[in-house]
């Protein structure tokens, strides 16, 4: 009886390993959270956030996964942090209650509710974005996703790029519309080592 039990456990072990959920904490050195927004119908102003944390989980067998992202809104950077002769810089204004309201809402978060696969590759993430205390569903298109296998000196590493569009007015961020666009293009570049 014990021998049969050992055989059964050993036989089941590879299956269990295959079905395991792989977790990839985001590597801050190779991850970016950026955005672009229309200005006066002329150009696109580009910005990014420098402080964030998150992770990606994938179950390749069950074709499921998840994305969690927490962004520090005070880390917004639109390459205009030097006010020069102006009273305040654009980044200072973006942190104020007119836009990201960082003192009241220091973080925005994204939590997935569904990951859609095409073959073995995730192509779409549906989830909830919480910004300024308002939660709305946001779909993120995974433009690229690739993994490099583990080697003798390195863990398995996955990465890619993704994008989404939101209307900031839906989150209560209405200041400056239409001179500063309502639609915001979000772009993500990400990498993470398998935990």
């Amino acid at each position: 009886m014990p021998t049969r039990l050992v055989i059964l456990v050993l036989a089941a072990t590879p299956l269990a390993a295959t079905a395991a959920i792989d977790t990839y904490p985001l590597d801050p050195l190779h991850t970016s959270v950026s955005f672009a927004i229309d200005h006066l119908g002329l150009s696109m102003i580009h910005g990014r956030f420098s402080k964030y944390a998150g992770k990606i989980t994938i179950d390749r067998v069950a074709k499921t996964g998840g994305v969690e992202l927490v962004v520090e809104t005070a880390s917004v950077d639109t390459n205009d942090n030097d006010k020069g002769s102006r009273p305040r810089s654009r980044d200072e204004h973006l942190r104020s209650a007119d836009f990201f309201n960082s003192a009241e809402f220091p973080r925005m978060t994204y939590k997935s509710t569904q990951v859609v696969f095409s073959g073995d590759t995730p192509t779409l993430v549906n989830g909830d974005l919480t910004l300024l205390g308002i939660t709305k569903p946001v779909a993120i298109t995974v433009d690229r996703f690739k993994c490099n296998p583990a080697t003798a000196t390195a863990k398995e590493r996955c990465g890619g790029s993704a994008s989404a569009k939101i209307k900031r007015s839906e989150f209560g961020m209405k200041r400056g519309i239409p001179n500063i666009g309502d639609e915001v293009l979000l772009s993500f570049g990400f990498e993470g080592d398998k935990e």
Partner: protein
């Protein structure tokens, strides 16, 4: 047209001024002329961000309390008890309400910082309400104080990276200018009572405290705002015509408003990136 309607000077300046003039003249024969502050402020909100209560942020709670304050003022004006006791009660209640308004900001701070910031907001709001309520029997003084306070909140706001404060402060200033115009045009003083002084004092206090908590107004600008109602209480002969009194008192108030504006300007000039 939409460019004009979307401009902060129209939203916070011209539109509230016109609305307050219409309501002020319409109610001039009643005790409620100073209710004009409420539709003027509501017009600014409608044109600027629109009405929304959820999630209850500092700005949304300020809006709700600002619209409620004139109604509380009417009730206080009708209350049969001694006016002085009601004033003290309103100072205490509004100070406590301010703590609720800023709760969402204070809870993001660590212990000592939250206590200091909360105590500062309470003291500032209480002092502002106390100083404004002292002007409740003199419509010209209250109008001049509201003009100076709104102007200070507006300019200090834009120097502190807050267009919201610019527009809201301008709306209060415009409404108070309208009430000065109504009194001068009718050559009759319209006592604001609690109905007029409570919303003006409370809104400006919350706008200024909000600019300090949520934008970049330095803390030392807040006590300087209190100079404005003090300046509007300075002696001016009652024998002068209402236009002369209004001009002199508005001059005092605007001169005093230079102090908080100067503090905001100084902070912006010396800010380290």
């Amino acid at each position: 047209m939409s460019e004009i309607v979307g401009h902060p000077l129209f939203q916070g300046g011209l539109a509230p001024l016109v609305v307050a003039l219409i309501v002020g003249f319409a109610l001039a024969r009643t005790r409620f002329a100073w209710l004009a502050i409420m539709p003027a402020y509501a017009t600014m909100i409608a044109l600027d961000t629109g009405f929304s209560l959820f999630p209850p942020t500092v700005a949304r709670k300020t809006m709700a309390i600002g619209l409620l304050a004139p109604l509380v003022g009417i009730a206080a004006d009708f209350y049969p008890r001694a006016s002085r006791r009601i004033a003290v009660a309103l100072v205490i209640v509004t100070a406590l309400v301010s703590l609720w308004i800023f709760q969402t900001v204070l809870q993001n701070r660590d212990g000592a910082n939250a206590i200091i910031a909360g105590a500062g907001v309470i003291l500032f709001v209480a002092a502002m309400i106390a100083f404004m309520l002292r002007l409740r029997d003199d419509g010209v003084r209250a109008g001049a104080a509201g003009l100076g306070l709104g102007f200070a909140a507006s300019i200090a706001g834009i120097l502190s990276a807050s267009i919201g404060a610019l527009v809201a402060g301008a709306a209060i200033a415009s409404a108070c200018v309208a009430m000065l115009i109504v009194q001068v045009a009718l050559s009759r003083m319209l006592a604001p009572g609690f109905t007029g002084t409570l919303p003006v004092g409370l809104l400006v206090a919350l706008i200024a405290a909000g600019t300090q908590q949520l934008a970049l107004l330095p803390w030392y600008a807040l006590p300087l705002f209190l100079l404005v109602p003090l300046a509007a209480a300075m002696p001016v002969s009652h024998h002068r015509s209402s236009i002369v009194r209004a001009t002199i008192l508005a001059g005092y108030a605007l001169a005093a408003s230079a102090f908080p504006i100067g503090a905001a300007w100084y902070a912006a000039r010396t800010a380290v990136q």
